[in-house]
Symmetry: D2
Subunit: 421 residues, 4 copies
Amino acid sequence: MEVSNPDPDQSAISQFQRVRGQTLALTEGLTAEDMVVQSMADASPMKWHLAHTSWFYEHFILQRYADDYQLFNSDYQYLFNSYYDAVGPRHARPERGLLTRPPLSDILAYRQHIDQQMANVLNQQQPEVTELLTLGLHHEMQHQELMLTDILHLLSANPLAPALQHQAVAVSDEQVTAEKMLSHEGGLVQIGASEQGFSYDCEKPRHQFYLQPFKLANRPVTNSEWLQFINDGGYQNPLLWLSDGWHCCQQHQWQAPLYWRQQDGGWFSFSLNGLQTVNPDAPVCHISYYEADAYARWAGKRLPREQEWEVFAAKQPQNLQKANFLEHHIWQPTACTPQTGFDKLFGDVWEWTQSPYTGYPGFTAAQGELAEYNGKFMANQFVLRGGSCASPRQQLRSSYRNFFHPHQRWQFSGVRLAEDQ
Amino acid sequence: MEVSNPDPDQSAISQFQRVRGQTLALTEGLTAEDMVVQSMADASPMKWHLAHTSWFYEHFILQRYADDYQLFNSDYQYLFNSYYDAVGPRHARPERGLLTRPPLSDILAYRQHIDQQMANVLNQQQPEVTELLTLGLHHEMQHQELMLTDILHLLSANPLAPALQHQAVAVSDEQVTAEKMLSHEGGLVQIGASEQGFSYDCEKPRHQFYLQPFKLANRPVTNSEWLQFINDGGYQNPLLWLSDGWHCCQQHQWQAPLYWRQQDGGWFSFSLNGLQTVNPDAPVCHISYYEADAYARWAGKRLPREQEWEVFAAKQPQNLQKANFLEHHIWQPTACTPQTGFDKLFGDVWEWTQSPYTGYPGFTAAQGELAEYNGKFMANQFVLRGGSCASPRQQLRSSYRNFFHPHQRWQFSGVRLAEDQ
Amino acid sequence: MEVSNPDPDQSAISQFQRVRGQTLALTEGLTAEDMVVQSMADASPMKWHLAHTSWFYEHFILQRYADDYQLFNSDYQYLFNSYYDAVGPRHARPERGLLTRPPLSDILAYRQHIDQQMANVLNQQQPEVTELLTLGLHHEMQHQELMLTDILHLLSANPLAPALQHQAVAVSDEQVTAEKMLSHEGGLVQIGASEQGFSYDCEKPRHQFYLQPFKLANRPVTNSEWLQFINDGGYQNPLLWLSDGWHCCQQHQWQAPLYWRQQDGGWFSFSLNGLQTVNPDAPVCHISYYEADAYARWAGKRLPREQEWEVFAAKQPQNLQKANFLEHHIWQPTACTPQTGFDKLFGDVWEWTQSPYTGYPGFTAAQGELAEYNGKFMANQFVLRGGSCASPRQQLRSSYRNFFHPHQRWQFSGVRLAEDQ
Amino acid sequence: MEVSNPDPDQSAISQFQRVRGQTLALTEGLTAEDMVVQSMADASPMKWHLAHTSWFYEHFILQRYADDYQLFNSDYQYLFNSYYDAVGPRHARPERGLLTRPPLSDILAYRQHIDQQMANVLNQQQPEVTELLTLGLHHEMQHQELMLTDILHLLSANPLAPALQHQAVAVSDEQVTAEKMLSHEGGLVQIGASEQGFSYDCEKPRHQFYLQPFKLANRPVTNSEWLQFINDGGYQNPLLWLSDGWHCCQQHQWQAPLYWRQQDGGWFSFSLNGLQTVNPDAPVCHISYYEADAYARWAGKRLPREQEWEVFAAKQPQNLQKANFLEHHIWQPTACTPQTGFDKLFGDVWEWTQSPYTGYPGFTAAQGELAEYNGKFMANQFVLRGGSCASPRQQLRSSYRNFFHPHQRWQFSGVRLAEDQ
């Protein structure tokens, strides 16, 4: 049974306030300077995230459903539209970091304004609003994760290696779970989200899919396993790599996961908790699809299909409950611990699947301007499943499909192996 | 019933000689100058194709199975290896056009040498050789098509617009086939090549696949329909395009298919038969996946899945028999003609499917050096089906999977529409 | 007689304090966000300028001459070295904008620390210190101008077009000076700075130079004249341009000076005082060398040599006194006003000369780490003369040589014409 | 006393025939394939050179002065115009290598046609024609050198390292000339070409120039000296390099002159005579301005100014007579030999000067379409003097100014040192 989220037991307003508050809480410890800079075209400034998530409610809800709504600032329509061509022209993505104005204080005032206006509208309890609100909250939760990945990327570029927080990560005494391959007999299965509860258009329709028998690993690949791949010359052997992947590896001179640094004879990893020695028992993180795929080949296995992942995950509600999500404030993967079934299907690291991100049979994009939400990205990206230590818990479910280009590494992305039976 | 090709009724030697001769025949009318130049990194010089297809037999057959085989020229191992990392280092792909030496005459002598040596080996009728020969011939047929696409690209870059041949293309009096959507009930179907007859590793294993009901168009999209898309602003409307596709369209300022030119108030198209007015009834050709996808959205339909295409094609053996293939020497698509069932499932234009090129369930790459043949390209490419006017007939079958990146346009690529039922 | 500056009548400490204070004053009205962002690789963040100019004293004076000097923060050696390879490794220039830490408050504390320490050292009145101090102050004055050019570039990239200040620019009732060409008889002249007073190594040695007779315009080219060039198709005619310049013009699609915008049927210009209608009587500003050169050819004249400019300027001390410099707080060029001799030789806009920036005969770079100050830039740049509305007054003298690459436009650069006699 | 060339004692027709024949002779041993390929944007195919040098006479002479002249082929106006914007649109330079048509045989016929038509016109002995002929011949001689540099670049890119010719280069028994710095007292000197004899517009007007006393080396820097620079870490030390030069050196990972290769523990150099061990006594060749400048700094000296070179060269007519030029068919620099005065001022290698290529005082470009010949390149290039082993002898004189961008290395460029006195 899936968690339908946000929590249906909460009122719309309290859900709204909780999500909004969680967004702001992520900026704790950050200066206005930290929040304006854009460290690469794929990432956005924290301030932009704060504004864009507010714009989303303003544009899709307040302008339609609030009485006599006055725009907080008409320029924001242009500045904080992300990629909705149907909405109108917009500020170019790679130039979001040039917006030193409006200042952070204006954006915080904008948030307050939106919060108040939304409270008024939500009090009227219009069903269309509730539906759009749910979408807006899920949208904002997606941006919460992006805020953490984007600020991590920015801080990693600073020679001072500043930490966002100083969360002690307990190192377990227990041994790490041994890798075990768990079997599934295959056959016709149901894939995708049902019509009940919230889900994105790309998770639907729920449909039949025929699976061959397969096995899935009980846990993600760990850092210590990844070190064996490195030490075995994995980053130097073209036979392990996809053709596009090998070009990418050579062009960027990859030698290790994104935030790893070799110094003083050892491997360190930069995280939101600062620079640390690599934890051998934690899932490897910040790897590209190309690296995940090369590792799987090296290991004599393969990446899972998204449907293989989903059929197992749908049967593991407890896995979702106890996962290491954003709310735990650890913000980095933690060690795999001995257990009998699956470990970390949810949380810790997104798991690359070998499934390109495409529309399910019968897929139809949402109507109107929101048609652009998911459908227009259905090329050149691969599906990741399960959420990470930076994902808000209520965002996740077993049908949730995340997607990124195969060269991208700044997300909390890892890998779980599969094989044919 | 699939055509198992090359023709099993022919002896190995006569098959070999036929394919080799067909390759050389493609260079008729070309000068040594035409055959040395590389017009872009994706394309290769004709001379390189002539040498590489010979190298393939030398490396994979003669060096292993010919008695006391002496290399024709040891440098050729380096110069004419295409992309086999397991074989060893090789000349960089974008620099193939710098190889003015060895001259064409040496490469022709190389071909003769290989032909003679292969004749000797084939006379011994070793089963392993026969299997590798079949692969070699299919490999060479793939390069025959590439030779036509690559020389077309080179000639198109010449302001003189030189034609490779002057084949009169009959313009039919009959009206073009009206578009009709033909239904399939879906369900569990068998996909992929059987173990009998030749097929590539990526077409296997034959496996069950669950299809939802769908419809497939009886013929490809025509030039006249494409003109409506152009005239309706299709190339200017971002809402019709995938996000990556729109960037690509803007970056390259696409306004029409690759070889179309607007002059004197009309549309012309450059072809291997020279510059011609666009034939309204012929299938549109030389379009990217992004354009095909945008067109389908504009038309209110979608691209087919490769399995949808295959289940229909497997039932149309007559379609394969009468198709416009390389052997017809027309080398451009011809008009769709009225008929009751499917038109041009095979030949004329490759048809983009919405299926990313990935491994089938249970896919295992061929062993040894040939493992690189198909498997390492399984990212960022889409499957095309059916062959084109530049495909050798014996190369095709309903399970054949061609694949290219979604931005590429220099292949004979077109589009057939599908829709959900 | 040249102005030897900084003012020799002031004590070292009061000079130091005045310059330091002037730097900070330039940040008035700016937020910490404005001061951290880098808008292009050529520009630096304001915060970086504040830190680097302090580092200069720390590294070249305090570390050598202060008793028991403790570095404020040893990381700053790496972070705020600009380009001195001899000093050691440094943070990459295009990544200066990623330094959200140390925060602005730390940099302000750093400045205070340096100010106090310098006061101690300056009290000791060591001659070597005084010499280095003078260099340090001139260095800081150069950065004052760069701060204004860099913040202008950043603000110009903001769709909100924010002004740094709101200085009313008086529009004169008087007519603009008519262009007049003033003659010089040529012959052997003295060029370069004497050994008295401060000057950079690249201004020396003072040497003989043989000049052919020539004429120099009495004032810079104005915006109204530039509009004629635009309206006459100057930006579309390759015959007016240098070959490299035409490529640059086409690549960047130049149509007008850098900050000009055509809207509502008229021309506007973005400045530190916000968006304004183009003032027809003010010198044209923010043009590249290529544009200046094309304009001169269009006008049937040529750009001056730096020596031609210098011999006239050396005789115009009053021109230096009354020029529109940074201290006037106008920060944009003002209209040319009727007068009998030269107008605006100094101030308002830097004037491109046709002289490539090279070493004078007998040039020897300064010794030690400071050898890199000027000498290593002697390729691919052209000399500009006279200073601008963003130049501190004491920085300028008739022998002063500024230099930039011919494609660069973000400096306050304009043009004065010359011709052979 | 300057050599006024081409040889005034020859009739116009015999001069014309000699130069035309010399051009064709350079293609000996080359196939049509060698002559069609373009190895980089800076270089042109041999076939293009053959056609362009013919087009020059057709456009500037035959179309104006031949009676009822019929164009050989009107397409050639577009295809073989190099860079004359005033003449009209033209084929893009980086795409010259795509012109497999017209074939070489057509271009050879074109040359014959031009030769015949020119013979007719030259028989009429019109003075305007004679003047344009002289320009055309000098133009063609410039292209003779470019043909050798461009084919060298192409052949060097071939892994087979094919030689254009196999000219045995005598290794002298005599010791190489010791480096000696020869003095000049400076003062007002005459620079530039006189009005008598042929010279380009950029060599004029002859004018006075004031020189400080200086010294010039008696011979160019040799390979053995360059090896010391390499072994002393010259390519790794940023303090030796100009700022732009260091970026270039790092970006392209320069470790040695362009065609040097380290193999089997020694240094080899690819030349038109094939791959050879580096001759320690020959002048270093195929270096950029940046490398020449870094070497001079390393050696404690500097590059000469072009005027310094010219005043010495003008007094060394014997140096011009006995130099190693194209006609010697050696086509690579030969060893410096002991002598009392200057060695190799002319021939062997072009010598980089520190003088940016700019217009002389009073420079006016040639009139009409030929105004583009030299003037539009006067930015970002440095002057080289003296000619090389690939320069036709009659092309050279002491006032001749060659010019290239400071990063370019495929010309026969070397370095001679200078210093202040």
